[in-house]
Symmetry: C2
C-alpha cells in the first residue's frame, strides 16, 4: 500500500479515501484482516489516533468491521464493495465533467481531451507511437 498526502485537505479524510480505494481495488481483499491501527499508522507515517479516526469512519460505511481484540476486517459483502467502486467512479466522472464545463469546454472537447491524454499516456516512449 502506497500512502501519499497533499496538504490541502485533512489527513484523516485522505486516509479514508485511500483505504477505501485499497478495498475496492482489491489491495485489501474481502474478508481479509487489516493490519492493526498501530501498524497502519506507522506504515502511513501518521499518528495512531489519526488512523483510528479514519478507520472508525470507514466502519460507518460498513466497508470494514472490527472485532474487539482479533483485529479489523474488510467486509465479505462483495456487492457492497462493487457498489462503493461504482459510487466512487460516478463521483469522479461527474465532478470531472462539472469542472471542465465550468472552465468553458464543450462536451465534445471534454471527450477529445480525455482521449488525447490517454493516448499520450499509452504511447511508447522509445518510438513515440
Amino acid at each position: 500500500m502506497r500512502w501519499e498526502f497533499s496538504n490541502d485537505a485533512p489527513i484523516y479524510t485522505q486516509l479514508i479515501q485511500q483505504v477505501k480505494v485499497g478495498i475496492v481495488a482489491g489491495i485489501f481483499p474481502p474478508g481479509e484482516r487489516l493490519p492493526s491501527v498501530r501498524e497502519l499508522a506507522t506504515e502511513a507515517g501518521v499518528n495512531p489516533n489519526t488512523m483510528q479516526r479514519a478507520l472508525a469512519e470507514l466502519e460507518r460505511d460498513g466497508l470494514v468491521y472490527s472485532q474487539r481484540t482479533a483485529g479489523r476486517f474488510v467486509t465479505e459483502d462483495e456487492i457492497m464493495i462493487q457498489a462503493a467502486k461504482r459510487g466512487l467512479a460516478q463521483r469522479h466522472v461527474k465532478s470531472f465533467i462539472e469542472a471542465m464545463l465550468r472552465l468553458g469546454f464543450r462536451q465534445e472537447e471534454i471527450v477529445a481531451l480525455l482521449k488525447q491524454e490517454i493516448e499520450e499516456g499509452t504511447r511508447d516512449v522509445s518510438t513515440g507511437m
Copy 2:
C-alpha cells in the same frame, strides 16, 4: 459569480480556485476591475481577511494585479489567461485518469463511462432521448 464551499479544504484555497475559474471562464474579463476585497468578501460570505489572502496569492500567479487605491484588476495578458485555462484543464484530465486507474478501470472503460455520463446529462428529460 456563484460562491460554494466544501468543508474538506481551506476556504482561501477554494477562493483562489473559484476566482481563477471565473477569470479563465470569462466571468471576469481581461483588464476588468474586480469588486473590492470587502465587496467580494461580503458576496462570498467570508471574512475580508480570507478574501484578501486569496487575492494576494492570485497575484503571485500574475492573473490579477492591484493598484493601491483604484482597486484590483484582471490581467490584460490573454495569453496568460489561456495558459492558465489549459493548465487547469490538463490537471483535471490527468487527476481524473489517475483516480480511475487507481480504482481498477481500464482506459477504454474510462472513456466509455465519460461518454455515457455526458450522453445522460444531455438527454432530454421529457422524451428520454
